[in-house]
């Protein structure tokens, strides 16, 4: 596992980038949900690949973990249709 550790310099760069993205979320994108979530996804990818070193693990491990998780999270988006439908039903119907 030793070869997976990367360098302190690269860790510091990722650390600064993640914090900078957090500042972008707060000061520039506040209130814009999709833009903020896109930034959060970039932060998460950086954390998973550089802090958690998934990028330097075997591709089979990435294949075993990532697609299944993404599939579950994407399928959860099916709730939105019902969520919007509620707005047009009683007691909120206009």
């Amino acid at each position: 596992m030793d070869s997976n550790q990367g360098s302190l310099k690269s860790d510091l760069v990722v650390y600064v980038v993640i914090l900078a993205l957090a500042c972008v979320q707060v000061f520039l994108l506040k209130g814009h949900l999709f833009a903020m979530l896109s930034v959060a996804v970039v932060q998460a990818i950086l954390a998973v690949f550089f802090f958690m070193h998934l990028g330097s693990e075997k591709p089979t491990l990435r294949l075993a973990l990532i697609p299944g998780t993404l599939f579950v999270l994407v399928m959860m988006n099916m709730i939105w249709a019902d969520s919007f439908r509620l707005m047009t039903m009683k007691p909120f119907a206009k």
Binding site: M1, D2, Q5, L8, D11, L12, Y15, I18, L19, A22, C23, Q25, V26, L29, K30, G31, L33, M36, L37, V39, A40, Q43, A44, A47, V48, F51, M52, E57, K58, T60, L61, A64, L65, G68, T69, V72, L73, M76, N77, I79, W80, D82, S83, F84, L86, M87, F92
Partner: protein
Amino acid sequence: MSEADLSMGHGAGMMEARPFSIPSKKLVMWLFIISDACTFGAMLFAYGYIKNAAPDWPRPFESASILNALFMTLILVTSSLTVLMAVRAAKEGNKSKAIQMTFVTIVLGLAFAGLHLKEWFGLIGEGVRLFQNPWGAPLFGASFFAITGLHLAHVVSGAIALLVVVLGYKRGRYNSDDLEIWSLYWHFVDLVWMFVVPMVYLMNVKA
């Protein structure tokens, strides 16, 4: 080969190779992390569903709360960096630095928890309860406390786990691999916070 030989590790050469070339306990941590990611995902989707369907969703957070959340982000991301430094030091055999940096991580985690509780007590002082609040949709309190509470529980349990592992590492019971495996969990807690901040705090800023 007898069962006793296998249990004592004498049959290591004949046993199946490690899946994905990582220790089984590391694989278990990864599996836990993806299941926990789905749990948090479900919580955040449920939160979005309720928020979207409520016409009078409250927006109680002022700039002080947002700066507090940003400061909490700084603390948590810094703790991720310190745990990385701890793992690196452990891999290099620098035990004292590994222990020191792990304790810094734990202290940062506890500072994060303290700021979180400060935020909670501020909202409770303003009248937010699980199923009522002074501003609008009654489920705001339940969803806010459920999501941030689950995250807070992860931070506190992560700090306790790191404490147990680092004390074991100090005594020689655990090694650098154990420290690395628990650092994965710590990074995951950090990662979840990156989604909690925009959804729970930044979307509910007072106009």
